[in-house]
């Protein structure tokens, strides 16, 4: 888009301005004059996670991380230090010698981000710095599996850290293997759709938000990237508490899910609307609020847009479809979603 063309746009048409790409860098509309930019690209944004990173097109994690961190920056007067576990977010943001982070950021290992963040918080405490706040972030594998010990320790000690898990339902960075957050029936490279019960087994896996609640930490919330205002609100709220806090963000992954990049927001919403992705908040171990489903949709509507569930919709696999419906039903009851 040329300068001339942009100057013909009416600033009141903000939300209709489309993102576009130049060269290899997705720059959003930050190349436009300030007055024409969408809300995502205002100059007030801290752009903690800046443009130029290497996430796949339609990556829900890139979106979630950008909004979560900018919200945290707003809530703390730009005083955020972030620690990152190994995984897609770490890899796509820091291809040496470049970095997409404009905040102080450290990556140590795959399984230790909670402890690294606790160490940073301890350092700030001993220096008497109570304004700088710490965020730890990891994928579902780094959180629910290999980093679980360190995370539980961080919860136990109630260290002053906000831990954000970006749940894309598998080890995506290493080529889509099963994690303990992979949904039942999903195809991954280690749970292929073969045999009597294709995909990831039913009655396995763990749901970290409720495990976090069991630690009775001050604040636990779940969010999803279609409702960014809700996500931002929860991050901002998390920053009003001291001690260990946990936010679990559902982040569609076109590569791992076998979905269209353009459907990331749609899938995020559908996951919530079918009952498979409950959105709620909890304080000190007690559920305090949950987002009601506005237009309930059948789970198959959600599943059919993802190749990882293709086998579930085959006629001979109705037992799997029924079982997934039951999971959604159970979530609706458990978290009071209707």
């Amino acid at each position: 888009m040329s300068k001339e063309e942009t100057s013909t746009l009416n600033p009141s048409s903000r939300q209709t301005v489309k993102f576009y790409q130049t060269g290899t860098f997705t720059v959003g509309n930050r190349l436009l004059d300030e007055e024409f930019r969408t809300v995502q690209a205002t100059t007030e944004r801290s752009n903690s996670l800046d443009s130029g990173h290497r996430a796949c097109q339609g990556c829900g994690q890139a979106l979630g991380a950008r909004y979560a961190l900018d919200a945290a920056m707003r809530a703390t007067d730009n005083k955020i230090i972030a620690a990152n576990a190994t995984g897609c977010l770490e890899v796509f943001t820091t291809p040496y010698p470049e970095t997409a982070w404009s905040i102080p950021w450290v990556h140590s290992l795959f399984g230790n981000v909670a402890a690294v963040a606790s160490g940073i918080a301890a350092a700030l405490k001993s220096k008497g710095d109570s304004t700088t706040r710490v965020i730890a972030q990891g994928g579902d594998g780094g959180t629910t599996d290999i980093g679980f010990g360190c995370l539980s320790g961080m919860f136990d000690r109630n260290d002053d850290v906000l831990y954000i898990c970006y749940d894309n339902g598998g080890y995506m960075n290493t080529g889509v293997q099963r994690s303990s957050a992979t949904p039942a029936a999903a195809r991954t490279a280690t749970t292929m759709p073969v045999g009597d019960n294709p995909g990831s087994s039913f009655n396995t896996g763990k749901y970290l938000p409720t495990i976090a609640m069991a630690h009775e930490i001050p604040y636990v919330a779940t969010a999803s990237v279609h409702d960014l205002h809700d996500l931002e609100r929860k991050v901002e709220k998390a920053m009003t508490f001291r001690g260990a806090r946990y936010i679990h963000i559902n982040v569609p992954c076109p590569l791992g899910w076998g979905s269209q990049p353009a459907f990331t927001i749609k899938l995020s919403r559908m996951g919530v609307e079918c009952g498979l992705v409950p959105l709620f908040e909890a304080e000190n171990g007690q559920l305090t609020d949950s987002t009601k489903i506005r237009y309930r949709i059948p789970v198959e509507e959600y599943l059919k847009l993802q190749r990882r569930f293709a086998h579930v919709l085959k006629p001979h696999n109705t037992h799997q479809l029924d079982a997934i419906r039951a999971i959604a039903e159970n979530n609706i009851k458990r978290f009071n979603l209707l």
């Binding site: 730009n78 005083k79 955020i80 230090i81 620690a83 990152n84 770490e90 890899v91 820091t94 291809p95 040496y96 010698p97 970095t99 982070w101 404009s102 905040i103 102080p104 950021w105 450290v106 990556h107 140590s108 290992l109 399984g111 230790n112 909670a114 402890a115 690294v116 963040a117 606790s118 160490g119 940073i120 918080a121 301890a122 350092a123 700030l124 405490k125 001993s126 220096k127 008497g128 700088t132 010990g149 360190c150 539980s152 320790g153 136990d156 000690r157």
Partner: protein, 418 residues
């Protein structure tokens, strides 16, 4: 001030004098008393502005150190044996990120079979991890070298591990000269981080590095350790000036330059060796000792020079590479290549077996007669070994080795605090 205290308490108090800001810990024998005592010093208010945390594992403990150090804090922890292995990935990470963490290793063997007593298997398991590894002979040295360790770590921005023999030093109550806070403050300046997570000057630390730059980053780590050779000597001299004691340095020679037969060893065994060679020297024998105080960086030149006049070197080690032999021995071979030196490797003190003056005396006697083998396991019970080998030849289902041996020897494993 002169005090009569255990090695662990001495080290804990020396650490406190260094004003660490973050100390995470996890219990494992024989280092536990160090971190226990630090916890008391923090809780009682004697050690101020220090976040002390009893975390959930050694892996978390070193990771905690990584975060704290990256955030610009003087950071300390201690571990041993299985604990070191459990934190291994983070041990490599700390040095890879060039973080000046100081850690005490209360040297202990590695299982299986599980064994809480002293040897150097733990220290040797991280010999390639990029940490500076110092060894101490006595509790006074342990105390002194910890004070130097912070200065060294921070000058180079590298992690430093002080190796102190489990039980033999950690639990031994001896007289130590505890420095004053003023002395330590004079020697050790406030910590200025080379890299720091700072909201006013944001940095990314721990980026992915591909083939294009990895070699350079690794080479620089090697280069830095080589730079440490001079810094260690220089700081030991500075320490001497302020505290009036010779502690630290790369090596310590006890008549090594003027002896035909020289023991080379690390740690507390030097004490036993000193008693032996004093006797031998009064009898007119030409025997000396070369004590390695810095194992990483490896002071190859200093070793080569110190052994320049020796005819035989007896490399005594409390660990070995299974399937290869003495690690230190092979490194000394390399350092002295070109010298006309006969090298024998003696492995002893494994899993806490007592190293007696008598057994070492026999080794020297063999050496004097030119009869010392290239590889010797000190005080090895040959008959027990043969018996077990025979049992294994007789049948496939001969059972677990350790338990068979214990039964043969009539030994009852005595430890409760694993």
């Amino acid at each position: 001030m002169l005090r009569q205290i255990s090695g662990s308490i001495a080290v804990a108090e020396a650490i406190a004098l260094c004003r660490p800001e973050v100390v995470p810990c996890y219990p494992i024998t024989p280092q536990t008393h160090i971190v226990e005592h630090i916890s008391t010093l923090v809780k009682s208010g004697q050690l101020k502005n220090c976040s002390y945390e009893n975390v959930e594992s050694e892996f978390a403990s070193m990771s905690f150190c990584i975060g704290a150090s990256a955030a610009g804090s003087r950071t300390y922890t201690a571990t041993a044996s299985q604990g070191l292995l459990f934190m291994m990935e983070a041990v490599y990470n700390a040095s890879g990120l060039s973080l000046p963490i100081v850690m005490t290793l209360g040297n202990r063997s590695i299982g299986a079979p599980i064994n809480i007593w002293n040897d150097h298997s733990d220290a040797m398991s991280v010999r390639d991890a990029g940490w500076i590894q110092l060894f101490v002979e006595s509790n006074q040295q342990a105390l002194d070298v910890h004070i130097q360790a912070f200065k060294l770590a921070e000058a180079l921005s590298l992690p430093v591990m002080v190796n102190m023999d489990g039980f033999i030093l950690t639990h031994a109550i001896t007289r130590v000269d505890m420095p004053t806070q003023e002395q330590v403050d004079q020697f050790l300046p406030a910590f200025v981080a080379r890299q720091k997570l700072d909201t006013d000057a944001p940095l990314s630390i721990g980026a992915m590095v591909g083939p294009d730059a990895f070699t350079e980053v690794r080479y620089l780590a090697h280069h830095k350790q080589k730079e440490a050779l001079a810094v260690i000597e220089q700081q030991a001299a500075e320490f001497h000036e302020i505290f009036g004691r010779d502690s630290g340095g790369l090596i310590k020679s006890y008549f090594a330059e003027h002896s035909e037969i020289v023991f080379v060893a690390m740690g507390s065994v030097i004490g036993t060796m000193l008693e032996l060679i004093e006797e031998l020297r009064t009898e007119g024998h030409s025997v000396g000792i070369l004590s390695l105080r810095s194992f990483r960086p490896f002071p190859a030149n200093a070793i080569c020079n110190a052994l320049g006049n020796a005819k035989q070197a007896i490399i005594f080690e409390k660990s070995f590479a299974v399937g290869m032999g003495g690690v230190l021995a092979s490194e000394i071979h390399m350092a002295t290549a070109g010298n006309d030196l006969k090298i024998s490797s003696v492995i002893g003190g494994l899993g806490g077996r007592t190293i007696t003056k008598k057994s070492l005396g026999k080794i020297v006697e063999c050496a004097m007669h030119g009869e010392l083998d290239k590889e010797v396991f000190l005080d090895l019970e040959g008959t027990t070994v043969v018996k077990e080998l025979r049992r294994q030849q007789e049948g496939q289902s001969s059972g677990p080795v350790a338990e068979n041996i214990l039964r043969d020897m009539g030994v009852v494993s005595a430890s409760k605090t694993l």
